[in-house]
Symmetry: C2
Subunit: 209 residues, 2 copies
């Protein structure tokens, strides 16, 4: 009997600037079975962005039809301007093909996904300290105090979600953080929650012994 | 802020002959922070066994005094003859020193430990198939049919405990199984359950921001 080979849904969150994207990209380099979810959005493509690769670009009408069709795992309105969402179809296809899918989404989206997929694994990437986070949010001094204030408030709201996650990775060293995320993927494939089928096969098989 | 460095209590169970000892020994070679718990017993030392290394050898009176002193994480009577138990002191010392401790105990003991230490991580080592397990139990043909029947019944009782564990490792390849156990240790160090302190530090720190 073999370990579960169906894919894992990995929901990665954490405040802006914490290094989520870099960690995820490094992990994908190591493990070709790990795929990044492609979001849908109503914002216009930027130079170099390809439909279906960076985003699925949609008109507001198309996006709203997808909402009515229950085609999203989660979606949101950013600043009341553009829609962003995670289409179910791509995620489900990848999971069924045995790939793991990373969703890099905000905590509100993460909570919605966990409601739909209780087996989703929630990973929070935290900064080494609040001071580092604040320094990163203040950034290169190009933002107005109001913008910094807004980013700080958002980041702090994200941080409050830590206890609702399954794992915390403190990103003070990229290599260590990637190793930790890789270990989480490997360990979760062994979790009882992801191996009910194998357990049932064993226990079913025992009836016949 | 750094990831949690306190030790993990790893409770490894699985039917006799499944390879628990080999996997644990290999893991300890890779990670010097992982220690095997030393059991106490009332049985006589066998040639080559050292007190405090292989077992803590006790008289029945000493063992029973330890029971009265609540000095065991779990203990049992084997065939109504000898006592076997896991002394709390050694385990707690190792955990406080930041080492991880493996308890290789039966499912009844494992359940007791999980009651006392809800954060204990329960790992079940399963055979590749029920057929393999039966073949191993029948062994080299040196046992009576009654002994085989007894070992089979015990093994099957152990297997029924799989759903109560946190992780299942199917031992069809030693290297893979050790990698999986190593990943579980690394992942669990990042689990929210093992990082409440760091979370509280972050959330406490935010109040002052």
């Amino acid at each position: 009997m073999r370990q579960n080979t169906t894919g894992l849904l990995l929901v990665v969150s954490g405040p802006a600037g914490v290094g989520k994207g870099t960690i995820d990209t490094e992990l994908m380099k190591r493990n070709p079975r790990i795929k990044m979810s492609v979001s849908a959005t109503t914002r216009a493509p930027r130079p170099g962005e390809t439909d279906g690769v960076h985003y699925f670009f949609k008109t507001p009408e198309e996006f709203e039809q997808m909402i009515r069709d229950d085609a999203f795992l989660e979606y949101m309105h950013v600043f009341g301007m553009n829609y962003y969402g995670t289409p179910k179809a791509y995620v489900c296809e990848q999971l069924q093909a045995g790939n793991h899918v990373i969703l890099e989404i905000d905590v509100q989206g993460a909570r919605k996904v966990k409601e739909t997929f209780p087996n989703a694994v929630r990973i929070f990437i935290a900064p080494p300290s609040m001071e580092t986070l604040k320094a990163r949010l203040i950034g290169r001094g190009t933002e107005t105090p109001e913008q910094i204030e807004k980013r700080t408030r958002t980041a702090f709201t994200e941080m409050r979600d830590m206890p609702a996650c399954d794992y915390i990775i403190v990103n003070d060293d990229l290599e260590t953080a990637v190793n930790q995320l890789e270990a989480i993927v490997r360990a979760e494939q062994c979790s009882v929650a992801h191996n009910h089928e194998i357990i049932n096969e064993f226990l079913g098989g025992m009836e016949q012994c």
